[in-house]
């Protein structure tokens, strides 16, 4: 798998790079951003995978979240893929902002015309790590995952479906219970079809209720003034209830005054990276 460097900028003593490659899972060219801390020049570093939300590309996080400084301090590589396959010319892929392009939902689609390309779940959990581990000074045993909104949903399901694969998981304003919210219902019915049992395979709340595996330590930040919270797209209470029942450790912080934007991510990204560093650098 050949990687082509698209850009490279020195940042916080390390390098913020963007690469492009041909993805075998997604059958198209995909870009991803990777931040290499100064420590990566001399030794292997743990990797934090960041999954962005609806309408984002690999650029939003690296330009708006301000994660490089703390990543540099803690010696962590941050990989931020795109949110869906691009340029596949699937009919309807650009019709809505919350389905299709920029809205991959980190699942493996089973329905036509999406099932060939829309395999973001496998891309994120298998292809991308393989790629990163063989091309960069990454410690293959030390991976963590995080994300925002749809990406938060992605981070949670990847961790819950792969017990022990990720050392830690965190999320910003995640879609916690997609089968119960408008976004999830629209996406899952489109990608996975009408059978709701297939949807449950990609629902964090449902997965939490049946989780068994090594102990997790989940950090979730949610802006109180987030319009999507009030419009019942995110449903964090359901996830909290499920985790309380199953004794999955979660610290959920409702942040007064914050909304759904990258300003919110910027404000708390340091706490999240430190949360991951605790486990990645242990």
């Amino acid at each position: 798998m050949a990687l082509t460097q698209v850009s490279s900028n020195k940042c916080s003593d390390g390098y913020q790079k963007v690469f492009e490659h041909d993805s075998s899972e997604l059958k198209c060219k995909m870009k991803f951003a990777i931040y290499l801390p100064p420590k990566a020049e001399s030794s292997k570093c743990p990797v934090l995978y960041w999954l962005s939300g609806l309408t984002c590309t690999e650029q939003n996080f690296i330009t708006k979240a301000g994660s490089q400084q703390v990543a540099s301090e803690h010696g962590i590589i941050i990989v931020a893929p795109d949110t869906s396959p691009r340029g596949c010319n699937i009919e309807g892929e650009d019709e809505s902002w919350d389905f299709g392009t920029g809205a991959g939902f980190y699942i493996n689609a089973t329905q036509e015309p999406w099932k060939t390309n829309y395999r973001m779940y496998s891309y994120v959990t298998e292809e991308l790590p393989r790629l990163i581990n063989s091309n960069f000074p990454a410690d293959p045993e030390k991976m963590s995952i995080s994300g925002h909104s749809m990406g938060g949903h992605g981070a949670l399901i990847c961790a819950l479906k792969n017990p022990g694969k990720y050392k830690s998981v965190s999320a910003f304003a995640p879609i916690c219970n997609p089968i119960q919210c408008a976004w999830g219902q629209k996406a899952f019915s489109g990608y996975l079809g009408p059978d709701k049992s297939t949807w449950e395979l990609y629902d964090a709340t449902v997965l939490a209720e049946s989780y068994s595996g090594p102990e997790l330590d989940i950090l979730i930040d949610q802006g109180r003034d987030d319009q999507f919270l009030s419009s019942s797209q995110l449903l964090p209470d359901n996830l909290i209830a499920a985790c309380s029942k199953k004794k999955i450790p979660v610290v959920f912080r409702l942040q007064q005054g914050y909304d759904h934007s990258y300003y919110f991510i910027f404000s708390f990204i340091n706490d999240h990276i430190k949360h991951h560093a605790k486990y990645l650098n242990a």
Partner: protein
Amino acid sequence: MDVYEVRGRLDVIAEELTASEEEEEAVSVKQDSPDVSTAQQMKEQLSRSRSKLSQKIVEMENFASNLEEIFITVEENFGRQEQNLEQHYNEVLQTLSQRNEARAAVLDEQKNSKLERLYGQLLLCGRTLDAAKELIESAQELHRRPDKHAFLQAVTPVMKRVEQFSREEVDLKLGVSLDFDVPMMDLSQVRQMMDSINVLPAPSAPVMNPQIANSATDTSLHVCWSLFSDDTVEFYELYWRLISDDCTMETPQEVSQLKVKETHCTVSDLLPNAQYELWVTATNTTGISPASERAVYMTVPSPPVLKPRQCVSSLDSALIRWDSGNTNPVESYTLELHQTHADAGCSATECIVAIPSCECQLQLQPWKHYIIHIRAVNIGGPSDRSEPITVSTTGTFFHLLEDTAHPSLSLSADGLTMFYLDEDLPISHMTFSDNTFNRCVAVLGDLVPVRGHYYWEIDVDESAEFRVGVAYEDTQRNSYLGGNNTSWCMRHILTPSRHKYEFLHNGWTPDIRITVQPLRIGVFLDYSRGILSFYNAALRQHLYTFSCQFLHYVQPCFALDNPGALALRTGMTAPPYITQP
């Protein structure tokens, strides 16, 4: 050398001292001169000489004042001897002159009586003469009368009278002797007095020595005195009286005494930390000397009592507190520190002296064990060692402070667990003080006042509604922990449906949900980073961190909002997942 010369010497030394002080200051002013190290050396030298000189001055002053006392006493003694002798002789002279006068008076009397007698005789003679003359004249006159008839008539009685008169014996002897009867003088007393001048005088007053350092114990004093004359002494009598002891005294105390042959003595059965007035007399065959000046000696104090519950320690420091062990104040305290090694008992001992109050903060090596004793010191010397305590610099150690606890809280015997019992305590039991919490059922702990980092854990019951965190020492005792700006705490509230967690400061909390109830809470305090963090210690899960620059030292605080229990775990350092993320 007399006292004035000594004083003069002291003045010279004092002058030298000020001169050297000025020199030292001059040296320290030149801080930025290139030769800072030599200046430093000189400074050290100067300060060493200075301390030696100060020591010498103190010694000389003590010596000078003792000399003065001796000088005065010797003068007094000799003055007294002089006076004595003068008096003696005056008495003798007086007695002699008295005798003299008496004798003269007797002689005078004799003279007067003799003269009177003689005068009487003289008068008698004179009268006799006069009578005879008269007779002769009358006879002559008769003889000359021409009238023979009348002459015959008168001549017979006259002739009879003349015959009678001439027949009378004339006493021509002196009535008195011309010798004086000199009476015998009773000079035996005078002789006695003269003799006694040469006899041994009673001794002069001894001089009490000042108390020798470290010669006293808490119940005995070693007393010394000296005699500054050539008097013979058979024995001394030492008197002593308690003048102040460790409790307030109402009535003046009795005087005790002891007969001693030597010029020193150990007096026992005394009270600790007490002042005694002592004086001594010397006795010989002649009599008893006057009493010496009174000296005041002091027994050493009772040993202090360490308060382990109020001692706190961390990895590299400790704050030790104790009770004086004496009611009256002592001069200072000495702290003895032994480091113990696992294999070889005790090793190095360090001593910290002149501690003015009942607490001491120590700088220690991490990961070691120390044994600490305290002694109380007064002018009599140091007391025995107190019972020791052990300090281990292996983590943050402290106990719950009973005197800050709300009356409804009872603490366990080891001071690490608190119980809020579900029973109505009697009103009499609810004794509040300025230091106890009176609304929030809370208690404080304590930390070494050093701005380092500290870690402790709290074990709680599932149903315990608690508040744990830190607060300033003077946090309002009538308010709730976290409800003011002098306390920060994590709070657990149990509602019918769920567990609620708050992280309170100044009445405000962020909105945080926690899915797994923490039953062992780790609290981490870092003054330099200005953070107070809470963890689910069992899961090593971070719960929340306050960012605050603590303006003063803070103390751990604990409260129960409902009946329940809460146990403190101390003696730990912060686990690596906290300090090395």
